[in-house]
């Protein structure tokens, strides 16, 4: 493992003014780059810095999921905070795309992300840099509706070609959880032990 | 010698012969299928195989399967060439029946003692590929078509080493009649010692191996089962067949395996003969002896089948043309030289 401080400075130096912000996800460096430098950053990461391995490309929707028909006392769906907060490297808006690249020789990895406009979600494609980006970008396109400019064929990957909507956006409802009433809602007893926070799970 | 020589009208004789042939093929398929496919393979794979049907080690399994196949719906694909599709399994099975015509099971237990018995048997056995081609073409299925074409290509490559392997035996025996070959082995002697006759496996060992390898290809068994290659072509030319038509293919496959095992036993192991046993005793013991030798050969063939992976079609062609045929030719030449010299 390369020393993380040197690694950070090497990467930020090489990327130059493309870097908007940086943060750390529990030991992993997260670099946020300008949207117009998304492809060139990949170029630098692979050709200059030797990050030869593409782990994944994925999208994220920072908008809190709209609460639909949540009943009092429903603990089945984790209640996320209702205000929009962004991750470790910040974001300009709701959508971001992030990717993790690694170096098989230096045994180091870095997560890069960039903002995607909500009104016109367009990102530069990485296919010309990492050929493996093909499927990841297709997945991201159908799950979030991000258009990867320069991708050879943005077709559906997982979903049938007539599928409408972008399932991983937070406003896309999970039907399975909406057609069936939560069975945990009848006649509630107070939980044993009273205080929920302090107990220990132990070896059941 | 003539104790059994009751005068039988030729019509009745023909009927008996037809019944025997018709019975031998499914019976052979059944015995080999059960012994090797169900039991030997299972045990080689640390399994037991079917145990329940029939009570004793599942002996009824294959018969039950046959009955099941007869009850199944006869599915013909929409796009299929219906008449060819229906005819194909029959062609395959008929070629199997025809081989048994010349295989002797005793000095007089033979349907027809042709002078060109060997030639006839090998010629007739290759008819089955026509059925395979018909099946593959008529199924209107790409997997079936590829399988059938592979089978045809394979046949062309393997007919030659098969024939050449037998040529050595024919030269040594000096006859193409299977009866003649058997008696040449029965009455032969190894350097004057005639204790076990002179089974040609000793002098023609290379020929025996070549024959087995080529027969394996002829029977589309692993390592040459590309035409059916279940992991690539699902089931090759049989992929669209169901019910009794599939049953025909199955009988054809194992019937032909029986036939080739019998042929190999006859050509190389002395067939029905035991040295010194002649006449009526040989007629009575012959079938049993033949079956024992046949099973031994079949064991070898199926042993290989259950152990080896499969070659690729181009590798098979290379093996046939670059290795087997040269070896077979050399074998023929050496045999001929020795024959002339002695």
């Amino acid at each position: 493992m390369a020393d993380s401080a040197t690694l950070t400075s090497r990467i930020t130096d090489a990327l130059g003014d493309a870097v908007v912000d940086q943060g750390e996800a529990r030991g992993t460096l997260v670099i946020r780059v300008r949207p117009d430098a998304w492809r060139s950053s990949a170029e630098i990461l692979r050709r200059t810095l030797g990050f030869d391995y593409l782990s994944f490309i994925a999208g994220i929707d920072w908008m809190p999921a709209p609460v639909v028909g949540l009943v009092e006392g429903d603990t089945s769906t984790p209640a996320q905070p209702s205000d929009m907060t962004f991750g470790v490297a910040g974001s300009a808006g709701r959508f971001q795309v992030f990717a993790h690249v690694q170096s098989t020789a230096q045994h180091a990895g870095v997560t890069v992300r960039t903002d995607v406009e909500e009104a016109d979600p367009r990102v530069e494609s990485w296919v010309s840099v990492y050929p493996g980006a093909d499927w990841h970008e297709r997945e991201c396109w159908e799950m979030y509706g991000f258009v990867f400019e320069g991708h050879p064929s943005l077709r559906h990957l997982y979903l049938p070609s007539e599928f409408e909507g972008h399932p991983l956006r937070k406003d896309f409802p999970l039907l399975a959880r909406e057609v069936k009433p939560w069975p945990g809602l009848t006649d509630v007893e107070p939980m044993p032990g009273g205080d929920d926070e302090a107990g220990e799970e132990g070896t059941a | 010698m003539n104790a059994l020589a009751v005068e039988i009208p030729w019509g009745v004789l023909l009927a008996i012969k037809a019944v025997v042939i018709l019975a031998v093929v499914p019976l052979g398929a059944l015995v080999l299928g059960y012994t090797f496919l169900l039991k030997m393979m299972s045990h080689m794979q640390s399994r037991l195989g079917p145990m329940d049907p029939g009570g004793f080690h599942g002996w009824f399994q294959l018969i039950g399967d046959g009955i099941k196949f007869l009850q199944k719906e006869d599915i013909v694909p929409d796009e299929a060439d219906r008449r060819v599709f229906a005819l194909a399994p029959t062609v395959v099975v008929i070629s199997t029946f025809l081989i048994f015509v010349v295989i002797p099971a005793g000095p007089r237990l033979q349907v027809a003692n042709l002078d060109v018995g060997v030639f006839y048997a090998l010629a007739v056995s290759s008819l089955s590929v026509i059925g395979v081609l018909m099946a593959g073409w008529a199924s209107a299925n790409k997997f079936a078509l590829i399988g059938a074409l592979r089978a045809a290509a394979q046949l062309i490559a393997y007919e030659l080493p098969l024939l050449l392997a037998v040529v050595g035996v024919v030269i040594q025996a000096g006859t193409m009649s299977l009866q003649g070959i058997v008696s040449a082995q029965q009455d032969g002697a190894i350097f004057g010692w005639s204790g076990i006759g002179n089974p040609f496996i000793l002098t023609q060992f290379v020929g025996f191996l070549l024959f087995l390898i080529a027969a394996q290809a002829e029977l589309t068994q692993t390592p040459f089962d590309m035409p059916v290659a279940e992991s690539e072509l699902v089931a090759g030319y049989m992929v669209e067949y169901t019910g009794f038509r599939f049953l025909f293919f199955f009988i054809g496959e194992f019937g032909t395996a029986t036939a080739f095992a019998a042929l190999a036993a006859t050509l190389f192991l002395g067939g029905w003969s035991i040295p010194g046993v002649h006449g009526t005793a040989a007629d009575l013991l012959g079938p049993l002896v033949l079956v024992v030798k046949l099973m031994a050969v079949a064991f070898l063939m199926f042993w290989v089948r259950f152990t080896y992976p499969r070659l690729r079609e181009d590798q098979l062609q290379a093996l046939a043309w670059k290795v087997l045929i040269p070896i077979a030719l050399v074998n023929v030449i050496i045999t001929a030289i020795i024959k002339v010299a002695i």
Binding site: P81, H100, P167, E201, T203, A204 | R47
Partner: protein
């Protein structure tokens, strides 16, 4: 039998061999036939699952191949957003169902990192042992399955037979043969049952014997070698840029194993093990590398059993698990390759976003490149040698 020898194909060069069949076709240009589209799958014996391959054929030669996936897409990344952390582990068991225990580890590890707790050493050791056991179980199946795809029926049964012993161990410890759900945030559900360690020692002997059998029955078989050598070559650099990982990448000569080279996790830093690579990058070397790794895993399990510390198996964890806000990326060396979870938490009882990086997805994405110019039978051996689990592709 020496395990350090690494056979090479003499006179081997990447490019001409990879396009050898194309060159052949050039000679036969006057025999050209029309193309045929062959649809392999979603139900096809070679795709062990519901992968569909649409291949364009010229005779038996593949001109182009397009894998179609998604027949088993279950939307786990969406489902995780509707479940609490303990519930998510049940889901991720079912991503790569042949080595489910190994799937749980990175996710639980990510949650632990965010909560800043660490499982006690005994729990780490047991986790490592079970991870390696699931690697053995997966690879034993592969070692047999690959034989089946090349046409030999028997090795598959040996694979299933010997894997059963390992599955019995996993079931005895976790209660589940395939879906253990044994990891808890902060430790394990339960300690090992009485007699498990000695039983495991016996089973490891069986596993090592099984490896010898596969060495003789499959690797040593000339037909198998003829079918797999210089077939389906992945050049190391190209493989990495496609995200091909694990044994597949190591078989291409890239010496990269997250157990050794990644951020330290589980008990791997305490273990002494060898990472195997092979210079050829063909189907045969993928088989060979997995065979060696199976042996190595068995040795690692024995080491773990010897060094198993005593003590608790659960850290102090609140009864209701709320993970503090933050992000964590945890990657592990799973049997199929690099498996990682990028977990984004917003302080709730469930994750806000989980990106599941599964190995097979990237491993299979190289197929269109690999299958160009090979014969139909080679498609099958290449698919088998890449060794993917459909649940791991489709998630």
């Amino acid at each position: 039998m020496s395990t350090t020898e690494q056979p090479t194909t003499p006179g081997f060069e990447v490019d001409p061999a990879a396009f050898r069949h194309l060159a052949d076709a050039q000679v036969n240009v006057e025999l050209d036939t029309g193309d045929m589209i062959l649809n392999m799958g979603p139900q096809h014996p070679a795709t062990h699952g519901t992968l569909r391959l649409v291949v364009r054929l010229d005779g038996e030669r593949v001109i182009a191949a397009d894998p179609v996936i998604g027949y088993m897409h279950r939307g786990y990344e969406k489902l995780t957003e509707f479940r609490t952390y303990p519930q998510v582990t049940t889901l991720i068991n079912r991503i790569d169902w042949l080595s489910s225990f190994a799937n749980e580890v990175p996710f639980v590890h990510a949650a632990e990192q965010l909560m800043e707790i660490e499982a006690p050493p005994r729990a780490q050791y047991i986790r490592t042992a079970l991870t390696e056991l699931s690697r053995i179980a997966t690879f034993l199946l592969f070692l047999g399955e690959m034989g089946l795809q090349v046409g030999a029926l028997t090795p598959a049964f040996y694979g299933f037979r010997d894997r059963e012993h390992v599955l019995n161990l996993i079931e005895a410890a976790t209660g589940g043969r395939f879906h253990p759900n044994f990891n808890r945030i902060g430790g394990l559900k339960d300690d090992l049952p009485w007699g498990w360690i000695s039983e495991t020692r016996n089973v490891m002997k069986i596993v090592l014997d099984a490896c010898d059998v596969f060495e003789d029955l499959v690797v040593g078989n000339e037909i198998f070698q003829a079918r797999t050598r210089s077939i389906g070559i992945i050049p190391g650099e190209l493989g990495a840029s496609y995200g091909v990982s694990g044994s597949n990448l190591r078989a291409s000569g890239v010496d990269w194993d997250l157990r050794r080279d990644g951020a330290p996790y589980l008990a791997y830093p305490d273990l002494d093990f060898q990472v195997f690579t092979h210079p050829d990058g063909d189907s045969f070397s993928r088989y060979w590398v997995r065979l060696q790794e199976t042996r190595e895993s068995a040795r690692m399990v024995l080491q773990l059993l010897d060094g198993m510390p005593a003590g608790p198996i659960m850290a102090k964890v609140p009864r209701i698990i709320k993970v503090p806000e933050g992000e964590a990326w945890v990657e592990t060396e799973n049997p199929l390759g690099q498996m990682g979870y990028y977990v984004v938490s917003k302080g709730a009882t469930g994750p806000f976003r989980v990106k599941i990086r599964s190995a097979s997805f990237s491993n299979v994405s190289i197929l269109p490149w690999m299958l160009r110019g090979v014969y139909v039978p080679d498609v099958v051996t290449i698919l088998a040698s890449l060794y993917f689990i459909l649940g791991d592709i489709d998630r």
